[in-house]
């Protein structure tokens, strides 16, 4: 009965209906799916939100960018109130807002003060370029951008690095290349630069400060113009953008977010060999595909041992399925579509995987070389929300001075500060902890089953995002690069 499976509402059914339904209906549809928790976890939420916003922008008819901003804001508000604890939704909304603002400001720049951007756009490609809307923060440390845009399907021509392809020229604006070089997660350099940036930074983002030069020429010809061509073009004789061009740019930008979501695991995995060494004992938790891929990538070259904590009671089934088959068994509908052989269990790669109960974490921690955690969302202060049990693991790791590595896509990075933890943590069905059959117990005992744990920043040693490795204290920078101050409260 394939139908019974396929008709269960979820991400797949939402994406399918998105094409046919009017936008308003889709918004309501997504809201109810979020409320019913039929779309949950960061990635499905992020994908659904991005696809929806793509439709919202595409359907937008007016030429006034302010109206578009308020429209996106409004949609965002609705989505966020539907399920405030899926922070990926809010993150995507904020990024799209920032993107729109970029595009608009970029347009203004081209007519206003093209000079300001000349340094960055003239720079050779392999050198770091200035982050777009943080003009005061020269990103001298970003030697190469691990950004995802290379895969966007654009021709890669004459760029020394795939990541420096033309598509980056378009979108780097809102996703600046502030990466520390892979190996050194240097906090010092970005801090210093950011201090420097503080001084040189104008009070408000002024049009002049936004290097949006090479954005506009692309509008005319869709296959992107290679950068070296742009270089000559940008500064002087850019045509004044047609007012409704900003929409096309925004749409491109949103598509790039989608691409990013698609590739985020691979990008994170590309750092695996830097962090996993031979014969290490790695402890991980819950059934994250990101972690799974990360370990698999490392397993191609190295042999190590994985201790998998089963994360009872909310994720243990998926964890076991991941161990055996390499992918979650639940979430059928969502993953039905990409049935491919990317998923294979770690054991197939010759890795020893040991399943341990959550309670054994502390006992075994002394033998663990590294803890690798997936996350639900990352907060701007460097703390994170991850599957329940993560806090205990990081505590134990701290006790034994075991390094804790957290893998997270940038889309999980939220500008929200953990002021009220209770409101950030989703509480699930206590039936998973205590059997509902036990009537008398249920009657007399309040059972709570938090789905997530808040892990304070000091328990995390390093974050690996698709932009590269960062220290927790550095995350605020990425937040600043991706979100606009004015969008933080939607």
């Amino acid at each position: 009965m394939a139908r019974t499976v396929s008709m269960t509402p979820g991400l797949a059914s939402f994406l399918r209906s998105l094409k046919n339904d009017p936008v308003e209906a889709s918004i309501e549809h997504l809201i109810s799916l979020l409320k019913r928790r039929q779309i949950h976890n960061s990635r499905p939420c992020a994908i659904a939100t991005t696809q929806l916003l793509l439709q919202v922008v595409a359907e937008f008819k007016g030429k006034d960018s302010d109206i578009l901003i308020s429209r996106v804001r409004h949609v965002g508000q609705k989505l966020i109130t539907a399920q405030p604890r899926e922070m990926a939704v809010g993150n995507i909304v904020r990024r799209v807002l920032a993107l729109i603002r970029e595009v608009i400001e970029g347009d203004e720049v081209t007519e206003g003060s093209p000079i300001s951007e000349s340094p960055s756009s003239i720079q050779p490609l392999s050198t770091p370029r200035e982050p777009s809307h943080h003009p005061g923060l020269p990103s001298s440390i970003s030697t190469s951008s691990p950004l995802d845009h290379s895969g966007a399907g654009h021709p890669i021509d004459s760029s020394p690095h795939p990541s420096e392809s033309s598509s980056e020229a378009i979108s780097s604006v809102h996703r600046p290349v502030l990466t520390a070089s892979h190996t050194s997660y240097s906090t010092a350099a970005p801090l210093a630069t950011s201090l420097f940036g503080l001084f040189s930074r104008p009070e408000t983002p002024s049009p002049a400060s936004t290097p949006r030069g090479f954005q506009s020429p692309r509008h005319g010809d869709n296959p992107p113009v290679p950068i070296h061509q742009l270089k000559g073009l940008t500064i002087t004789d850019l045509p004044k953008p047609v007012p409704d061009d900003f929409k096309a740019d925004v749409l491109d930008g949103i598509r790039e977010i989608l691409d990013e979501l698609d590739q985020v695991d691979d990008q994170i995995a590309s750092y695996a060999l830097d962090h996993i060494h031979s014969n290490e004992i790695i402890l991980t938790h819950s059934s994250s595909t990101t972690v799974q891929k990360f370990l698999l990538t490392a397993a191609k070259k190295r042999k190590f041992t994985v201790l998998h904590v089963e994360s009872f009671p909310n994720d243990h089934k998926n964890t076991r399925a991941t161990m055996v088959t390499g992918r979650k068994n639940q979430g059928q509908a969502e993953e039905e579509e990409d049935v491919d052989d990317r998923f294979s269990p770690l054991t197939a790669a010759g890795i020893t995987v040991v399943l341990i109960p959550d309670s054994a974490v502390f006992a075994i921690m002394s033998r663990v070389n590294k803890v690798i955690l997936a996350t639900h969302s990352v907060l701007a202060n460097g703390g994170l929300l991850a599957a329940a049990g993560a806090h205990a693991i990081t505590k134990a790791a701290k006790m034994h001075q075991t390094p804790v590595v957290v893998l997270s896509g940038v889309y999980k990075l939220s500008p929200v500060y953990a002021l009220d933890l209770d409101e950030l943590i989703e509480y699930g069905d206590p039936g998973k902890v205590v059997n509902y059959d036990d009537g008398e117990f249920v009657e007399n005992v309040d059972v709570v089953n938090p789905l997530y744990d808040h892990v304070p920043p000091d328990l995390v040693d390093i974050y690996i995002t698709n932009l590269g490795p960062h220290a927790p204290s550095y995350l605020y920078r990425i937040v600043q690069d991706h979100y606009r101050k004015e969008d933080i409260t939607i």
Partner: protein
């Protein structure tokens, strides 16, 4: 709804090619359960709009259906249809983003689930498999597995007409009915895929602690599951055949003790099977009476029904947030600094709570004003209510716009309906059912006189008295079973909130007879209801038989009807015979009155109904023809009261003999039975039949062998 239709199409397309185009999944919501358990609240409002944790019940149900991927929903309303319609039409379920492609509200005058089902059959809208749920269901059970199981089974065996979804639970559970415990007997055999063999309801009456399982079930099944621990929340996955069954059996009123019991009993006859799908996790319960309303509210608040919890904000306008200790607060709640809000509490928008007030385990609606020094514990306070300073409310329900005066005390179990005002300083006892309106027969509420004794001098409202209690007598003869079901429900609303938490505190004096029909069968040996039901049966059966005979219905249909009626009341064979005899003899005299000769009329009346008559007797192969004797005696007794009874009797006898309804031995034993000649009238009436009997006795020996063969063929 155009776009939604398209969406359906999209789903279809994406399915694998070998899948045939399947019709959308349909669902029927019985918004009115045809019970009076929420009185007095249901006098003014439909039951499905009663709020549970500040969300109307119907939302939970529709949410459940949306989760299950249902596309077409039919909401079946009884009373207050306009309100339900208004509400649903303005809700998100009717917007373009609704997960349903079709949401139709059906009104009917039905007074029972059975009527509703038969009405649905007439409308002919349910063409596919569909789900039946009640409008008060709160559940997060995913139905995929059950649906897949159901479909697989149906593909294999078309007679598997229904799958019941049941939730496993321990012996005692707060969402379970205390007094009525369903018992399911299931086949454990792998191949039978959880077929339900027998269903009964145990209750706390003296005779109710036993279940009688048919011997045949025990002998024919290798291993059985007999379970009393299942929560039955009325989620049924049905084929359209189910509706047909309901229509064939016009007397079934309730889904379980009527329909289920009947179908299982008729297995030999119809071969229809009903299966069970047991879920071991997830939440499923019905807020079917005040007690379970309380229990389900608690479950929802403590997140057992996750994601159906207040902070999911099922309604667009809600903005609940979860705080520590399961306190759900909407935006715009005004709490004084010195008030204490304990766990398990829901506070709606615009509610203000005064100084030193203590609230624990309460659900408080929107825009309520809670004064100072108020004690609220386990209370359900709906929107726009005013609780004045110093009041003390425990485990009570206070409906919208009610006012509880200063220093009032509302004792556990009290129900205070819409707009009632309680005067200052008044104590409302736990048995209070205060309302401002009483319901009329046509379902419209009318305002009643204020009774100061119930609400205090300056109050407004009066003690609600269940109108069904007197209606009972009047309508008892027209729809006996339905009324039984109705009659007893009101008592259930007496089951108070305070009885919860103490499961051993069962009150046998409250006879919960929701079960209607089957209750009669269960208690027929020790309950005063038995004679009444027997009388009802006789009356109903005779009337319906005669009616069918007059209309010239097919004998098979008449037989089916009669059988259904018999099943529902569990009438004895002799009762059935009595009714049959009465109907047929009446028919004979009717035809005679139309001018036919005696012989003609007997032939018209009985001619085609040999099989039917035969089925009332079970002793064809026995030596002692007790049933046949009984049958003849009944005819004879009937004839005593009819004009020309003595003339008709021989013709009837001859006709019965010709149709082999009564055998020679039967006649012989009847003739020799002392009862057939016990008084002058009886002797008188059988006089003219003597030659016939004599003739039979002579030919007895010759025809003996033939008869045996024939009777074997009949079997």
């Amino acid at each position: 709804m155009g776009p939604k239709a398209k969406k359906g199409g999209g789903n279809e397309k994406s399915k694998s090619a070998e899948e045939e185009r399947e019709d959308p999944l349909q669902a029927v919501v019985l918004a009115d359960a045809f019970e009076t358990r929420f009185q007095p609240f249901t006098v003014e409002r439909p039951r499905c709009l009663i709020t549970l944790a500040n969300t109307p019940l119907i939302h939970y149900t529709l949410e459940f259906l949306a989760n299950a991927g249902v596309e077409e929903v039919y909401v079946y309303c009884g009373s207050h249809k306009e309100q339900v319609e208004d509400y649903i039409n303005t809700s998100k379920w009717n917007s373009t983003s609704s997960p349903f492609s079709k949401l139709e509200i059906i009104r009917s005058t039905s007074r029972s689930v059975g009527d509703a089902m038969r009405d649905l059959d007439k409308r002919n809208i349910l063409v596919n498999d569909f789900i039946i749920v009640y409008g008060d269901l709160v559940s997060n059970v995913p139905l995929e597995a059950a649906l897949a199981e159901h479909r697989a089974r149906r593909a294999k065996d078309p007679s598997a007409i229904m799958t019941m979804v049941l939730r496993e639970a321990g012996r005692h559970h707060r969402t379970k009915a205390i007094r009525r415990k369903p018992v399911f007997v299931m086949d454990r055999n792998e191949s039978s895929s959880n077929r339900c063999l027998h269903y009964e309801e145990m209750h706390s009456l003296p005779g109710g602690r036993y279940t009688s399982i048919d011997e045949e079930i025990l002998t024919s099944t290798a291993s059985l599951d007999i379970r009393g621990d299942l929560i039955d929340c009325g989620i049924d996955i049905c084929t359209p055949d189910v509706i047909a069954q309901w229509s064939d059996n016009f007397d079934w009123e309730v889904p379980r003790s009527g329909f289920l019991y009947g179908v299982l009993k008729d297995y030999e006859l119809n071969g229809k099977t009903i299966h069970v799908h047991i879920v071991e996790d997830h939440y499923a319960a019905r807020a079917q009476n005040i007690r379970s309303y309380d229990a389900v509210s608690k479950d929802v608040i403590s997140r057992w029904a996750y994601p159906l919890s207040p902070d999911s904000n099922l309604l667009h306008t809600q903005s609940y947030k979860l705080q520590k200790g399961n306190v759900y607060k909407e935006d715009g709640v005004i709490l004084s600094r010195s008030c204490i809000i304990n766990g398990g509490t829901v506070l709606g928008q615009g509610t203000s709570v005064g100084d030193r007030t203590r609230i624990s385990k309460c659900v408080i609606g929107r825009r309520c004003q809670i004064g100072r020094d108020v004690q609220l514990e386990g209370a359900y306070i709906w929107d726009d209510t005013v609780i004045a300073d110093g009041a003390d409310v425990r485990q009570a329900i206070i409906a919208n716009e009610a006012v509880v005066g200063k220093n009032c005390k509302v004792e556990p179990g009290a129900l205070i309906s819409y707009g009632v005002r309680i005067a200052d300083g008044f104590t409302v006892p736990g048995t209070a059912r205060l309302t401002r309106y009483r319901s009329e027969d046509d379902g419209n509420p009318i305002k009643g006189e204020t009774d100061p004794a119930a609400v205090g001098d300056t109050g407004e409202g009066f003690q609600f008295i269940d109108p069904d209690a007197d209606e009972e007598e009047v309508e008892a003869d027209t729809s006996g079973l339905g009324k039984l079901a109705h009659m007893n429900l009101s008592t259930d609303s007496i089951s108070t909130l305070d009885s919860e938490g103490d499961l051993s505190d069962e009150e046998p004096r409250h006879h919960d007879r929701d079960a209607g029909g089957s209750m009669v069968s269960l208690v027929s040996d020790d309950s005063s209801m038995a004679p009444q039901s027997a009388a009802d049966f006789h009356h109903d059966a005779t009337a319906s038989l005669l009616d069918s005979l007059q209309k010239g219905d097919q004998p098979e249909n008449i037989a089916l009807e009669l059988n259904g009626l018999r099943m529902a009341t569990n009438a004895s064979e002799s009762q059935v015979r009595k009714s049959v005899v009465a109907a047929f003899m009446k028919r004979v005299s009717q035809v005679m009155e139309d001018g036919a000769t005696v012989q003609q009329s007997v032939e018209t009346a009985l001619g085609n109904f040999g099989d039917l008559l035969k089925r009332t007797m079970f002793d064809q192969n026995l030596e002692e023809k007790n049933d046949q004797v009984d049958f003849m005696l009944l005819i004879q007794a009937d004839m005593v009261h009819r004009s020309k009874g003595d003339t008709i009797l021989p013709f009837v006898a001859r006709q019965l003999h010709a149709m082999e309804v009564v055998e020679e031995e039967g006649f012989e034993q009847w003739w020799n039975d002392p009862r057939s000649s016990k008084d002058a009238a009886m002797v008188q009436v059988r006089m003219k039949t003597e030659p016939f009997v004599d003739y039979l006795l002579q030919s007895d020996d010759e025809s003996d062998e033939d008869e045996d063969e024939e009777s074997e063929e009949d079997e």
